[in-house]
């Protein structure tokens, strides 16, 4: 009887319906469903679907954002039980993500977070207006594989370079890879500042992240 539950979980993420997501996650706990299965077989296929449809232009930013919010709710409910059982989601890698200091633009970064989470990365979102030292501290704390830096303005773009320099100074690189994105950012800019890669959009960020952690898309 778990299959219909998983199907409903998938649909609840596609619908971006937080109430249903919450109810289904609680139901999984009550029934003793492995929380890892609930995430990987139930909710994740939903956000995968949304991401894929978004990439094709069949679904839209509100779908992606609400799907991402739904995923967060599911994981928040299921995580305590996972910890209790001593299980953890297998991740492709750990990512620390944020918009650089002086820049309060959130949407692009949030989309990248949603897509990376959906693809199996463990993502720590530092939010917006993040100082270089916070990136460094978080990367060290969570033993990050990747740091993602967003900047929407030509005036805040140089902030990406400051984070890279800070990571260099603290000796975290080259183990920690840095990917950059944002409207004014380009491959050329990424090269100039010594980043490990640049992604044009959220889907490109996933491809890039997988390549940087040595798990490229087959």
């Amino acid at each position: 009887m778990t299959d219909p539950l998983f199907a409903a979980m998938r649909q609840s993420v596609i619908d971006g319906d937080p109430d249903t997501v919450e109810r289904l996650a609680q139901e999984a706990l009550a029934r003793g469903v492995d929380p890892l299965d609930a995430i990987n077989l139930g909710f994740v296929p939903g956000i995968h679907f949304v991401g894929e449809q978004f990439g094709r232009g069949e679904m839209f930013l509100p779908d992606l954002v609400m799907g991402g919010e739904a995923m967060k709710i599911a994981v928040a409910i299921l995580e305590p039980e996972m910890r209790r059982r001593g299980t953890a989601r297998e991740t492709l890698g750990v990512v620390v993500l944020g918009t650089v200091k002086g820049d309060i633009h959130e949407i692009g970064k949030t989309l990248v977070m949603t897509m990376l989470s959906a693809s199996g990365f463990q993502v720590h979102d530092l939010g917006v207006d993040v100082a270089p030292e916070r990136f460094v501290a978080k990367a060290r704390e969570v033993n990050a594989d990747l740091v993602g830096l967003s900047a929407l303005l030509t005036t805040t773009m140089p902030g990406q370079r400051l984070v890279i320099e800070a990571l260099d100074r603290e000796g975290l690189r080259p183990r920690v890879k840095v990917m950059v994105g944002g409207a004014p950012v380009s491959h050329a800019w990424a090269e100039t500042i010594g980043a490990d890669g640049y992604g044009e959009d959220a889907a490109a960020a996933v491809t890039l992240a997988r390549r940087l952690v040595g798990r490229p898309v087959a």
Binding site: G16, F60, S186, D201
Partner: protein, 482 residues
């Protein structure tokens, strides 16, 4: 409120009709068809040779029996096009003789394969509620050209069709074909699939062919779209108001002939008016004044309570370029705001001589945008914005609101892939395509995705029987395009 455009004030509409009645009662109109003249004179219209003078009471009588609304039906029998119900609908332009070859950029003669390609693409574009017999096919003998292109459209489409005949004789054969398609004469009349454009010749001349076609259509009770084509400055008064009067008079003659022959038979107050270009002698279909004429002529028809038609979104550019886009965009917006029931012309270039399937795809976007404009700005929910702010404060998290997700598709028209709203980089990496290049790709995708509707063996047999009969008459042995 829905935005609406009225170019004429109520007094001017009255003056237009008053003068139209004055012209028809005094100068009269030339009616070449003897059958139509006999009908008119038997009802008291004085004749002087071919010139008939129309008493206002006779015209009023015809107007009284003309239906206020009717529908065209798709193959499944659903009313897919509604005339006279306030819905603005579009169909591709009709009767071009050239196509813009997307590979060579040349205007070359149109052939069956070109018409089929256009039908396949239009079939998948929701902007077009109806198909049209869009092209004259050079690989089909002239004697059955009109019938054959209708056959090709019926063969490849489920949608209603805006069509027209080249001769009165072929109107009869085309009605045979439509009866075969519908299963019977009764079904053809009760659930008509097609409407026939019938054009008087300006000024105020109803040819044998045009008037006889009206009689046939009225008898068969198959819808007629009376498309008057005054050229302001050459075959009609140069003032737009004067040309609108002539248009009204020409259509009123058609309505009178049609309704006297078949009271209550469905008809449309149509038009393809244009100004006359004083530099080139052309009839610029993309001129803003042409759009104004369409709007004004339709307004007069609506004042009489009749379903309306106009000819917009075709233009005079030779390529699918900035001029072509400008011509369609102006016209689509004017057409939608004027509330014209059916607007023909999309896809056309070069004064309607040339079709471009790629332009048809781009025009569909302008049409959808104009339709969006036509829906206006309406309040949604009890609170416009205050309620949202009370919930999310200054966080700016509108993308996370379920209202955003639920409403954006209604609030925004989401354009297809031919409209570029991506980043510069995306565009550069995608090969720096212009709108025409994107439209070419889109056409190729649509042609590849097209699946011919299932007509059923019985219907196919019935259609082929009529077509083979007519083909044999003109010595056509193979049937191109099927």
């Amino acid at each position: 409120m829905k935005p609406h455009l009225d170019l004429l004030d109520a007094d001017l509409v009255r003056r237009v009709l008053d003068e139209a009645f004055t012209i028809l009662g005094g100068t009269g109109a030339r009616v070449q068809s003897e059958a139509a003249r006999t009908l008119l004179t038997s009802r008291g219209a004085p004749a002087d040779g071919e010139v008939i003078r129309f008493p206002e009471a006779l015209i009023r009588e015809a107007l009284a029996t003309a239906p206020r609304s009717f529908a065209l039906y798709d193959r499944a029998g659903h009313p897919a096009v509604r005339y006279g119900e306030g819905v603005v609908q579009f169909d591709p332009g009709s009767s071009c003789v050239h196509v813009l070859d997307p590979d060579t950029g040349q205007h070359r003669e149109s052939r069956s394969a070109d018409l089929v390609r256009l039908v396949q693409v239009a079939e998948q574009l929701p902007a077009y509620s109806a198909q049209s017999t869009a092209m004259v096919c050079a690989d089909v003998p002239e004697g059955i050209g009109d019938l054959y292109r209708l056959f090709l459209v019926l063969w490849h489409s489920d949608r209603p069709v805006v069509t027209g005949a080249f001769t009165a004789a072929s109107t009869g054969a085309m009605l045979d074909l439509l009866a075969a398609e519908s299963g019977s004469r009764e079904a053809m009349s009760s659930r008509p699939r097609a409407i026939f454009d019938v054009c008087p010749s300006p000024p105020l001349h109803w040819s044998d062919f045009a008037a006889d076609s009206l009689l046939l259509l009225a008898a068969a009770r198959v819808p007629a779209e009376i498309v008057s084509v005054p050229l302001a400055g050459a075959t009609a008064p140069v003032t737009l108001a004067g040309a609108v009067v002539q248009h009204a008079a020409e259509v009123l003659v058609g309505i009178t002939i049609h309704q006297l022959a078949g009271p209550g038979a469905p008809l449309v107050w149509g038009g393809a008016p244009a100004i006359f270009d004083m530099r080139t002698g052309g009839a610029p279909m993309g001129a803003i004044e042409t759009a104004m004429l369409d709007a004004a002529c339709a307004q007069v028809g609506k004042s009489l309570g009749l379903p309306t038609h106009g000819y917009l979104c075709g233009g005079d550019a030779k390529l699918v370029d900035a001029q072509a886009g400008m011509e369609t965009a102006f016209a689509a917006l004017v057409g939608v705001l004027s509330g014209i029931d059916m607007i023909s012309g999309a896809g056309m270039l070069d004064f309607l001589a040339c079709h471009s399937v790629e332009k048809l795809v781009l025009d569909a976007e302008a049409i959808e945008m104009a339709k969006r404009f036509g829906r206006g700005i309406e309040p949604v929910g009890d609170s416009l914005a205050a309620d949202l702010f009370s919930r999310i404060g200054l966080s700016g998290e509108f993308l996370k609101l379920k209202e955003t997700r639920a409403r954006f598709r209604d609030e925004q028209y989401l354009p297809g892939p031919v409209i570029d709203r991506g980043s510069l980089r995306h565009w550069e990496e995608g090969g720096r395509e212009d709108a025409f290049a994107r439209a070419r790709r889109r056409v190729a995708e649509l042609v590849a995705a097209y699946r011919r509707p299932d007509l059923g063996a019985e219907r196919e047999r019935a259609l082929l029987e009529v077509v083979r009969r007519e083909a044999a008459r003109v010595g056509l042995t193979s049937l191109p395009g099927i």
